[in-house]
Structures are given as structure tokens and as C-alpha cells.
Symmetry: D2
């Protein structure tokens, strides 16, 4: 199976690419995500046929699909995908009705983690936890070189382990979930709160956002922080502290060799990494007697999902 | 390897037994734990030779040793065992100087979890998390039917993932660790606090302890709760709630099929299990769309460590 | 000053009444709250003239006005009233341009507390803390028989002391404010969360709300709780626990003789009061050596604001 | 009453002085605190007679006594003083059997607060909250220029309002009390924890304490911080943050014009004050629309108790 197709189904677009055995994307296409979940299989099939048509018959050996949501332990049925309003959708079987190739469905954070471990910042390491800081927190866990999925395919939902017993309400129905404190969106919320309650202190952030606290975006905070703005640095310090606390808890349970941190906020580089490392070192149990996991930034960016999904169908 | 020897090194005594392939302990001995960590290998060897001498030459196929502390990824060196004041102790090699058999060293909670999964409440299930509620909280994780150890052998320290960001101080140097809220000792602390601040309400507990809050023990609380005492039931409800919250977080990360709850407090049976189940169901993410892990009481009691350690050397 | 006029400016209507020296409302009128804050003084003047016209010249001795927001220490200027979009409004002077009577402006929760202390559940007690559980939590503090206002008129904002260090976001810009956990709205939020994450358990609540979690209202929860529904009782127990914890903190600081609890949720009576009392007794410092404040339900209902405002102008 | 005697009963010594109308201590004596609470009145009387004998008959107009514990609303009976093992002790009456002068008993933190407000950092301000950071946190509240005592004399126990719902255990039987996070002892606990879990980072602190984390004292941390040591500054930042959070909560309830911060840790000056001010400004409700209390360091040091007690008997 020299070439495969990796598909990354997002909230607004379906991106896909032909992936080779070295994790390179040879070519790439994007289609809008259909409003109707029922049409999803058709869109995936269209994309696969479009990409496959450009290659000799038989050159494509399989299709890996990553998407947000719970996927069952057979990597076949979408148990629940709130953004796409899918519940119990037999996506693999629907695709295979049109496409006569091996197909696997995978949670998108798992797919991205697999991409990073095979070809990115986790290469060559057998125990890795990938943490993607975006709207929420996506997680992927590699144990003994294999993707860890849990009994029912619902493992590695690390964004929803709780860090504050009675904390901020989360869309999942719980309170205090890690992603309410440590995601890219939490960074933005922190900055907006600061701008509302201390506008003078957050002057630079407000200026970048045209004066409206609610228009502050992640890239404004990154830009202000890179310029040395105290308020923006404070926001990164707060979020980095929470990220590090979470890594410490995950280390107590999973004892990985490496954490790979992804997501757009990583563009701030050491401004984010330093408080993460300090907080991790301060909160990890047994810190003086155990080898500490190292913490690196993801390397594949938004391509990790396609690359990982494409590779997972080889296994 | 029909018979093996399982050794369970505790803070006050070293217990060992001859274990058969069905997890039965054929005979058992106990020696005091030596005050000096250096003498530990000798005590283990003495015990092994004592037990082996009662069987035909060659009948014993190996020795598994469980003990509290971090054990390295080769199941060979004790990285750190605070109770025994050991640090970097090459215990396996020391034992093998006298005993010419396969030897493995394992964390005691891991050994006990393995015992429960092979022969107890986790039998036949491939994804299990064992939680032993004692002085602290011991954890053992089984993934795909195998004991999960983490990269450096320090995984499954679930008692030290934190449930309150700035909570009660823990002996590990952190604050807010789960075991400060949900262990057997936390149950006792809860009852003593109640007896100090509300002596009238805790009258029955105080009476069982001879009137001194500081003499309240776990078995007093269990006894009072079984008699229907409101204060004791309140203590179990509080601890059960924290246990269930922790299981919910572990499910988000590990997605097991079953939780096995062990430790002396389980003698309270449903008095403990009911609040655990309620709290778990209330706090687990995605509760309405995912299969929920079931929660059972451990079956092997204090023998789990010997049985599990004895079996681990077969692998 | 035998008769006065008390005015209660709410978000949707301005209610006012003629109040006698025994706290009785002789007659009452209501007008819609003007959309424009500038028109507010005129509406108040219209109401006052309307009521005064029904009495002999000179019968009305003064006007007391209660409204949500910060009022300055001279009981004259509205520092900030977010709902009415007022900031630095010299409301007393504007009213006095048309009405030649003594006028005082007061925070509405302070006015209501004063009403309860003079003529309701706090009668005859010199150290009282009134806690009104509504959309937020309103507070009024009576010290040595006098209304406590703080240095700048901004005291007794008890709904915004924080109970969770990094808790739920509050409209005031902070996180973890008491009113996010213990108000009438918090009760509703609790029930809606329960209905979303455990629809089977919350079946009765959902039925009362026509099947939509977001349509559950306070009176549904009260009704279900009075019928013995377990889910509704659980919601009251959770909120009551938080209320009691807050009262314990306030007792540590203010050491009152009595707490008076008001707001619509009090219609649940003992269903709410019992968990409040239990939680208060469990969390108050020095509980075994100090006299404990008693906890009562408010008696004047929604009239407390008019009665209290009317009486405050006599002082 | 030109001269009075102020007495400050501490855990190890009873200090007393003759105080004039300007709050000056004319002369001072110290005796050991008697092991037996019953002997306390005699020691106080001995001291009073000793000091009075040095002045013309009739020159001393009264005796004020401050001591840790709850004192009843008549400033007469010690309800509870755990350190001295007193409960229900009629201290004023016992003293008056020998001393024919007006006598008042007062909580020591209240006495010290009164001293600061009359003659120290709160001079000329009518709404003050004094916060003494020592082993615990002592509080004194001045409202309208008068000492606020609560209904039963047990008010202003601000060290035992709780900042973490299920936090660190406190000697009072509760959990999460402010003084477990923000007192001088909390500062020391922070430093010791840091030294245990990150000895390399805390090298300077450890060196000052002779290498033993448990020997780190407050003055070591102050010294290291003044030298610019990062670990010590981190400890002050952490404690200062908690102090400021507490002041914000107190401002929501009490709206003072000034906070006066006392206790030995204040020797660090701006190193402590800066994080307090930042945290206060960040957490106080309505920060943009209300006048903010200012925050000052106490001026009278350990003499505040004698001066304040001596002055209280004049009222």
C-alpha cells in the first residue's frame, strides 16, 4: 500500500490528500462540509474518487477518515458527532458501498496525534501524549507505539477531564473541564475578560481588536505578546500554567516520554512553552525521582489530521 | 511454569505465597519487613527458599515481587520507595544473586490489579482500571489485556492526579491529589473532622472510638454506617462522591470497560458503591452517547498482590 | 412624616406605593420602566405626583427610591446601573427639581433588607444579613440597627464575593461569584444541566417544561420538588448547600443574629431551608463555641423594596 | 482619663504598657503567660498594679485587655480561647475583683486594628479593614469610625472565611480558610513545599535554612526575596495573589476606604504589596465604576495591640 488517502472532516470543510509512506501529502483537495450529515459519505466518496482518478488504477491502497466525535472501537461507526449532528452513523459501510478499498474512521485528534508520532514531533518515541489546543483540547495517546483508543473508542478525551471540581460550565454538560481553562479559546476568553475589567492594562489588545473586547482574537494576543505587551504575556502565563498542570496530571496517569503540543496558539512558541514547562515541573508527582517527559511543539500543523488518517489505514 | 512465588512487600510485613496457574495460593508465609532497606533482598530470598524447599526441585518457575514505589521500566530496579527508604535499588539483581529463577519487580498496586484482572473482579475484561482505596489510592491499568506501565514504569499513579487545583497538601509535595479526598484515610479524616466540629451529630462515631475523634478508625465508620447512622452515611456519601468524580475523569482519558474498586472501605459494600455510581454517572463526559464502564468491588482482598505478582513472572 | 412614597425601579417596571409608619402599603401603582435612562426621573416624578394627588397637601413627607446598581454614599447619585444604562446619574437632584420633598436613592437590595428588618422577618433584631436569591444574589446588612452601606455606598454586594477561586464566569467580569452557584438562576442552571446530561433522571422536570431543557423554569423545579421528584430535590440540595456555605463565610465576617432569605425560590420552604441550615451548621467557623445565627424566610415578598425605600426617607 | 493600661495576652508572654491619649506607650513590661488559664487574671492584675504603682494614685483611668479568642458582646467574658484553654472565663469580673478600674476585654486582632485606626496607618479614615498576616490571619473592621464586633462579639474572623470550597484543612475544623493560603505561615508552607519538590530552584532558600526544608522561616524568605532570589519572589507572588483575592471579596461585602496590612511578612514591603495590589485590582467586583480602597502597611508593629487595648477602655 504505497499510497493512501487521508480525509479530515472539519466543521466547515472536508480536506483530503494523497499520502505516501513517508507521510508526504502528494496532492490535496477541499470541499465544503455538507450541512446534512447524510450527505457526508457522498462528499467523502466524491473526494476519494476525484483524488484516485489522478493515479493509476490500484495505486491507492485505502482511505483513512478523521472527524471530531466519538468513533466506535471497530473504527467504523460514528457514535456521536455533535457538530455534524450525527449519531450512530455507519460511515465506513456507507463509504465502502461506493469505494472498494479498506476504510477506517478515526477521531480527528487521534488521527492528528498518529500523524505527529509517525512523521512529526513524536517520531521515534513509543509513549507520547499529543495535546491540541484549539476551540477545545484534542488528545491522542500513543502507548507502546500504538494508538490507544480505549475499550469503546472513546478514550483520550483529555479535554474533558476536570481540573476544577465546580468550575466553568462546559458544552459537554460537565463543569471545570480542562479545555475551559487551557485551550486556545480559553486564552481568548482570558484576554477578553482582562480587557473588560482592566481596559487600561489591556490597551494594546483592545487597540488590535478595534476597541471591542469581544473582537479580540488569538492572533491579536500572540502578536501583542511577541511585542512584549504585559497584558498579553499575562494571558499566556495563565493559560500555560493550566496547560502545565494538566500535563502533570496526565503524566501521573500515563507516564509518557513526550508531550507534543499543537494548535494555533503554539505560534507564540516559547512565550507559551516556558510557562507550560515551569508549571509541569512544579506540579508533576515524584518530580525529583522520575524521568520527566519532554514537551515539544507539533511539527505538522493542520496537515497532521490528513497524514495521520492516511497512515492509520495501513495498520 | 506451573507454580510461582508471589511476594508482597508492605510497610510492616513481607507476605509471600506459592501461586498456581489458576491464581490459587497453595501456602503462605509472612516475615517482618526489615528496618534496613539493604536487608530487603535477603528477606525476600529467605522467604523464597523457605517456600521452594517445600516443593520438588524445579517446581517453582519464577518469583514476582510487588512493592510500593516506582519501579523502572525493566521491572528490575526500585527507583524510589519512600516507606522503605530505597532509591535506585537494583532489587532484581540482588535477588538473582541467590535465587536462580526468573524474577520481576512490580509496583504493588500494579501487581494487585493484575491479580484482579486475571483471577478476580476483572476476569475476562481487556480494559480495566483498578482503584485501591487505602492509606492512599493505588492504581493499576489494563489495556488490551496487558498491564500498562508507562514509558518509565511510573504510570497509573492515579492517586496523584489532582482534583482540586489548590487543595489539601499531599505527602508527594503537591496539593489537591485525588487520594487526599477519596481514599480510606480521607474517609477517616472526614469522620474525625465531623466529630470535632459536630460532636452531637457524630455521637455514635465518637462512642465507637471511646470519645476521642482522633481514635475514629475506618471500621468504626463502616460499622456505624451499616447500622444506619446518619453521620457515618454522610462520610461515605462524601468520599463516594469524590471517588465517582475521579472515575469520571479516568473514563474521559482511559475509557475502560470496567472499574474494580478495592481496599478495606469496600466492606461497606453498596453504602460506598451507590454514591460512587451516582457521582460517576453524573460527571462522566458524553454520558448519554457512550457505553459506560461498570463498577465492581474487588474479589481477592489482600491476596491480590501475591497472586498478581506471582502471575506477572509468567509473562 | 406619617406617610411616605416608596419607589422600586426594576428592569421592566417601576412600582411605587404610599407607605405608612407601620410599613403598610396604602395604595400602589406601576408604570413601565422607560427604555431611556434620562426619562427615569420624569417617570418617578409622574408616579409621585399621581400618588400624592390622592392625599391632602402635605400628607406625603418624602420619597425613597430603590434601584439595582451602585448608589453613592450620599444616597443621591447613581454611580452605575448596568440594566438601565446609567452612569453618574444625579437622580436625587433631578427628582427634587420637580418634587419639593426629601428624597433618598438606595440600592434595591438594601431597601428590601431595610423593609424586612423594620416590618418583616428581621423585626426587632439589630444585626441582620438579608440575602435575596433571584437572578443574582442581593444583599443587605444591618449593623446595630442601622443599614450598613460601606464607605462609598457599594457595600453588601455579597453576591459577588467569590466561592470558587477559578470558577464559573460572572457578568461582573470575575469568576466564581457566589451568585453563580447559589441564586435562583443557579438553581435553574443546575436543573437544565441535569436534564441535558441525565434526561431519564430528570424526566419529570423535562415533562413540566414541555421536553426542552432550556425551558425549565424555577417554578417547575419547585413544583417537582414539592411532589417529591428526586432530580428536583437534588437541585435544591445542591443550591442549598452553596447558600449555606456562603452564609457560613458571611457569619465569620459579620456575625449576625439572623439571616433572612428572600426571593422566589423560597416558595419551596423547608425543601430549600433544610439543606441551607445543614450546610451552614457544617461550615461555620467556631460552630461549637459561638451562638449561631438563625435563618428565616423573608415575609414581605416583592413588597419589601417599596416598604423599605419608603421607610428609609424617614431616617 | 489621661492614661490607661493596655495589655496584650499572647501565647508565650503577656505584654502591657501605660498608654497616653496620643497612643504613646510611656513604659512597658512583660511577664510569661501562665500555663494555667486560671492564673491569667492574677498575672494581669500583677502587671496592672506594677505599672500603676509607678504613677500617682488616680493617674491610670482604666485597663484594656486584648487576647486571641472569641470575647462576648459585653467585652467581658472569654467565650473561647483555644491557645489558653479558656472557655466561658469571666475575665473582666475576675480582674475587677482586685482592680477598681474600668476594664474591657477585646479580641487581640480587634485591639490591634483599633490601635492602627486611632494612631497608625488608618488614622483619620472611618471605614477600615485591618488584616494581620501571622500564624493565621487576624482581622479588625472599623465602620463609621467604630470598632465592628458583630452581634455576639465574634465578627471580623476574616481568616476563616473560605477561599477554596474543598481546600486545605484548617485548625478551626473547616477546609479552605483564607488563612491557609494567605498568612505568614502559608508563605512559609509555600517555600517549604517548593524546597522539597524543587530543591535546585529553591537552592538559596535551602542554604539560608541550613539545607533542611522544614527549617525555612519567614525571615529567610524575606531575605532571599530582597536579594532577588526567584524562588522566594515566587512565594511572595503566590501569597500576595491570595491576599489580594481575599481583599477583593472583603471589598465586595464591606466596601472600606482603606485596607491596613500588618504582620511580620510586611517587612518585605513592596515585594508583598505589589502582588497584593495587582491581585486586588484584578478581582474586585465593579472595579471600573467604584472608588477602590487603598492598601497600606501597618505602622505600629507589635505595639498595636497594647495601644489599641489601652485606647478601647476610653470609649
Amino acid at each position: 500500500m504505497r499510497l493512501t488517502i487521508g480525509v479530515d472532516i472539519g466543521g466547515t470543510k472536508v480536506a483530503a490528500g494523497v499520502v505516501d509512506v513517508d507521510g508526504r501529502i502528494l496532492e490535496k483537495v477541499k470541499h465544503p462540509t455538507p450541512a446534512d450529515g447524510d450527505a457526508l459519505a457522498d462528499v467523502v466518496c466524491d473526494i476519494v474518487e476525484e483524488l484516485a482518478a489522478r493515479h493509476p488504477r490500484g495505486a491507492i491502497g485505502g482511505v483513512g477518515v478523521g472527524m471530531a466525535g466519538f468513533v466506535d472501537e471497530n473504527r467504523s461507526t460514528v457514535i456521536f458527532a455533535p457538530n455534524l449532528d450525527l449519531c450512530g452513523e455507519p460511515l465506513r459501510d456507507r463509504i465502502r458501498r461506493r469505494i472498494d478499498l479498506p476504510v477506517v474512521i478515526e477521531n480527528d485528534a487521534n488521527a492528528a496525534a498518529w500523524g505527529e508520532v509517525r512523521f512529526g514531533a513524536g517520531r521515534g518515541v513509543d509513549h507520547v501524549v499529543c495535546v491540541t489546543l484549539g476551540t477545545g483540547i484534542g488528545g491522542g495517546i500513543i502507548v507502546n507505539g500504538q494508538l490507544f483508543r480505549g475499550r469503546y473508542g472513546a478514550g483520550a478525551e483529555i479535554g474533558h477531564y476536570r481540573v476544577v471540581a465546580d468550575g466553568r460550565p462546559c458544552g459537554c454538560g460537565n463543569r471545570g473541564c480542562w479545555e475551559k481553562y487551557a485551550s486556545g479559546r480559553a486564552l481568548v476568553a482570558e484576554a477578553r475578560t482582562l480587557a473588560r475589567t482592566a481596559p487600561a492594562h489591556a490597551e494594546r489588545l483592545l487597540k488590535l481588536a478595534g476597541g471591542d473586547p469581544d473582537l479580540i482574537q488569538g492572533h491579536h494576543i500572540t502578536q501583542a505578546a511577541l511585542d512584549g505587551d504585559a497584558a498579553a504575556l499575562e494571558c499566556f502565563a495563565t493559560i500555560g500554567d493550566w496547560v502545565g498542570q494538566g500535563l502533570a496530571d496526565l503524566a501521573a496517569i500515563l507516564d509518557p516520554e513526550r508531550f507534543v503540543i499543537g494548535g494555533g496558539v503554539c505560534e507564540a512558541g516559547e512565550i507559551l512553552l516556558r510557562p507550560i514547562r515551569e508549571s509541569f515541573a512544579r506540579h508533576v508527582t515524584g518530580r525529583d525521582v522520575r524521568p520527566l517527559a519532554d514537551i515539544r511543539v507539533a511539527e505538522l500543523g493542520s496537515a497532521a489530521g490528513i497524514v495521520g488518517a492516511g497512515d492509520l489505514v495501513r495498520l
